[in-house]
């Protein structure tokens, strides 16, 4: 990677991490997502600032062009994050469903259409 590319990526990584920390500070981002992104950022940051660590990895995987290894890693991380989001989305969808069900039952209860709930 050229020094200029290195500088550019390092700057992007640093700015991203600062932005993430700012969101956490303002309580607009939860700790678990912050952890995810900061971990991704730090790993990519290490790859960019110490590109030599990419050489043995590239050799081992069989990639002759190190920046490609960097992009492979970046892509893999983004993929992981997206899988994590899908998982969270599924959970949220399930919870929204439960809330709707609770609401339907409560509505009937409030209108007096149901016998008072069993354990009273």
């Amino acid at each position: 990677m050229s020094p200029r590319a290195q500088l550019l990526v390092a700057a992007i990584v640093a700015l991203s991490i600062l932005f993430i920390l700012r969101l956490v500070r303002r309580r607009e981002l939860r700790g678990k997502y912050a952890m995810l992104w900061v971990a991704v950022g730090l790993t990519l940051g290490v790859f960019v600032l110490v590109p030599d660590v990419l050489v043995p990895i590239s050799d081992w995987v069989g990639i002759s062009y190190e920046p490609a290894t960097f992009f492979l890693a970046a892509f893999a991380f983004v993929f992981l994050v997206i899988v994590q989001f899908s998982w969270e989305l599924s959970r949220l969808e399930e919870r929204t469903r439960s809330l709707a069900e609770e609401l339907a039952l409560l509505r009937a209860e409030v209108r007096g259409e149901l016998a008072a709930s069993g354990d009273d």
Binding site: V24, R27, R30, G31, M35, V38, L99, D119
Partner: protein, 245 residues
């Protein structure tokens, strides 16, 4: 209705809860009890109702932070002046509630029952855990400028301004009590620690959960670090009201 509310967050505590509620009933204190059932599957809500408590049933498990926030919201909406968080598993001694409330009368906005403050050494914890808690204590001290001996206590009393603040902003992730201390402190609330005696619960952390614990510590340190720059700044929230006493 009295002016003091006891908030008991409960997740599958059907076994221990009846005795706890009975103990609280015998207390010489004018109070109401609300049990927040955090999505239990063992009939906790029915047991709590049978014990005479008001029960808020969450439709699914929100974790201790979510359950507490529900309790705080209830306290605020119902107009309570102060509230005490109390465990449903029999870990806390009802007789020590008076000490926490006395601290509020003495001008504290929030009183935390500490296992380690003062001379009461009746609670043993593991060494790794103790060291990890030491690191957190250091971070909390750096941020709040106040040293706390027990950052994970779930035996706490709150005055109404704190209840209002927490009903909007109580942290919901694991080990929320640490974040809560820092938040309350950064927002100018006065926090006092009161030594209390706690009955220890058996069993340490199983090894397969240790990595999770490590993850949560890292996360917490990250959040605390990010909060660091809040210090000495105006934070968008209601200022604590001055104490009248």
């Amino acid at each position: 209705m009295s002016s003091t509310l006891l908030i008991i967050p409960a997740f599958n505590e059907a076994e221990a809860l009846p005795a706890v509620l009975a103990d609280l009933d015998d207390l010489d204190l004018d109070h109401d009890v609300v049990v927040v059932d955090d999505g239990s599957t063992d009939g906790t809500a029915a047991v709590a109702r049978a014990g005479g408590a008001v029960v808020l049933e969450l439709p699914f498990n929100l974790g201790i932070g979510g359950a507490l926030r529900t309790g705080f919201l209830y306290a605020v909406r119902q107009g309570y002046e102060q509230a005490v968080q109390f465990d449903g598993d029999g870990q806390h001694d009802p007789d020590e509630i008076a000490g926490l409330l006395a601290a509020l009368d003495d001008g504290a906005d929030m009183a935390v029952g500490s296992r380690f403050a003062g001379t009461t050494h009746s609670y043993e914890i593991g060494r790794v855990r103790a060291r990890a808690m030491g690191v957190l204590r250091g971070a909390v001290k750096g941020l709040s400028g106040q040293s706390f001996s027990d950052t994970s206590s779930g035996f706490r009393a709150f005055r109404r301004p704190v209840l209002e603040f927490f009903s909007r902003s109580y942290p919901s992730e694991y080990m929320e009590s640490v974040e809560a201390l820092v938040l309350a402190s950064l927002n100018g609330f006065r926090i006092t620690e009161i030594p209390v005696h706690m009955r220890g619960r058996e069993g340490g952390e199983p090894s397969n959960r240790r990595w999770r614990l490590v993850y949560h510590y890292m996360r917490l340190l990250l959040v605390l670090t990010a909060s660091a720059s809040l210090r000495g700044r105006a934070v968008p929230s209601d200022p604590p009201t001055q104490n009248q006493s």
